[in-house]
Symmetry: C2
Subunit: 243 residues, 2 copies
């Protein structure tokens, strides 16, 4: 069934990784949302995903209100494959709200990997990973997707490049000292591997960082003509490859 | 001078429409930002825009701290022309934060016209226009642009279509009952006229609304493959035409 038809029939998607097939268990917030906000009861059918591409559909068989656990006897409906594998590698902004917005939007648009980085000009060196994951789960469910992106702990950009060795993707850069391509001249040729979109901090990547990333295969790009905020540049690039 | 070089030399842009050339007057928040946050003083030079495409550069000649007025003796540096004329026509979401975020991003990406609409399935029928304009001014300055978009008061979508008669642009629609084009098959052919991006409320446009918009020349489009939130769909479409 095409996705567009599919989502017209699903109004609400739940998420759990607590699976002992054919039993799936909603816990904590998911269970509360299910039984309190949506007033589901034993005998009701619900849709569930594990965030790994699987879609389950099943009947609620047990509700433990004190422990906030909902037991669902489910069948696997479908196993989705990612049509593309976009990675976002980003230096978090000082204002964390801007990153929360970005993660919500990036997940809606189907980003698969999220790598936080510390760069030479980074002002923020920590990230509330759990909170970001909660936002991602919510965005995945809201946009009726079956994949939760992988979140990697924050790491020094230079170390990350060393670990990766060879990369496919782009690095946004404002400086004029290095040849750049306009973003909209690029296409993803190899859809198997992750295509990385690397976005620097408010003060941009340094020349050294861009040079090092060039050696791994990343392409320096200019993202539009205005001075864009970090999160706007990221989302513009994601939108471009998403469409 | 290309814009990229240009913004490297400007760190801060002020906004005023209170102009008695060669004198420009910063007032209220702009004046406070100038003299308190940035500690500018008589004799300092600053960059100013009127939001109509004009860039002024001048010297602070007077500061009235009690009235929060900064007088600048300025020269006109440049008069910019819009390279494109994108219009956003959108049914505001119930949650106004989402619209505030969208306006910031839309202005960063250079949208010229913003038309709020009430549709058949709209949940929100009012918009805090002044607050939206303040956000737009801030985004314009931050992204070093010289154009403030035109904001139009909220209007019934159907009446707006009747007033406009002929339109160039797209209407985002999720329904399967009308032939749609994928967004990324389209191009703006006439850059003189406004190219409108019409985005419906959480519950989508109705079939009638889409049919009426077809008669004005709007093209029904699907924006990607996932169920996107109103503001994400809007920003994805703006990004596409911006790049």
């Amino acid at each position: 069934m095409p996705l567009t038809q599919f989502y017209l029939t699903i109004m609400e998607l739940f998420y759990t990784t607590d699976i002992d097939f054919p039993y799936l268990y909603l816990q904590h917030e998911e269970a509360i949302h299910c039984i309190k906000s949506l007033r589901k009861n034993i005998g009701d059918y619900i849709h569930i995903t594990d965030g790994l591409g699987n879609h389950y559909y099943g009947i609620i068989t047990q509700i433990e209100r004190k422990k906030d656990i909902v037991t669902v006897h489910a069948q696997k409906q479908q196993n989705f494959n990612k049509s593309q594998n976009l990675g976002l590698c980003i230096a978090p902004t000082k204002n964390i709200d801007r990153m929360e917005w970005l993660i919500e939007k990036a997940v809606e648009l189907g980003v698969s990997q999220i790598q936080w980085i510390i760069t030479e000009r980074s002002q923020r060196k920590t990230i509330p990973l759990e909170r970001m994951q909660r936002i991602a789960i919510s965005a995945m469910k809201q946009s009726l997707q079956y994949f939760l992106p992988n979140f990697y702990p924050i790491i020094n950009f230079s170390s990350w490049l060393e670990q990766q060795k060879i990369l496919q993707g782009v690095i946004g850069y404002c400086g004029e000292d290095i040849d750049k391509k306009p973003l909209n001249t690029l296409q993803i040729t190899n859809k198997q591997n992750t295509y990385w979109i690397c976005i620097g901090p408010e003060g941009d990547f340094t020349q050294n960082e861009v040079k090092q990333s060039l050696n791994t295969g990343l392409i320096p790009v200019s993202i539009g003509t205005h001075r864009l905020r970090t999160e706007t540049a990221a989302l513009t690039a994601i939108s471009y490859f998403y469409l």
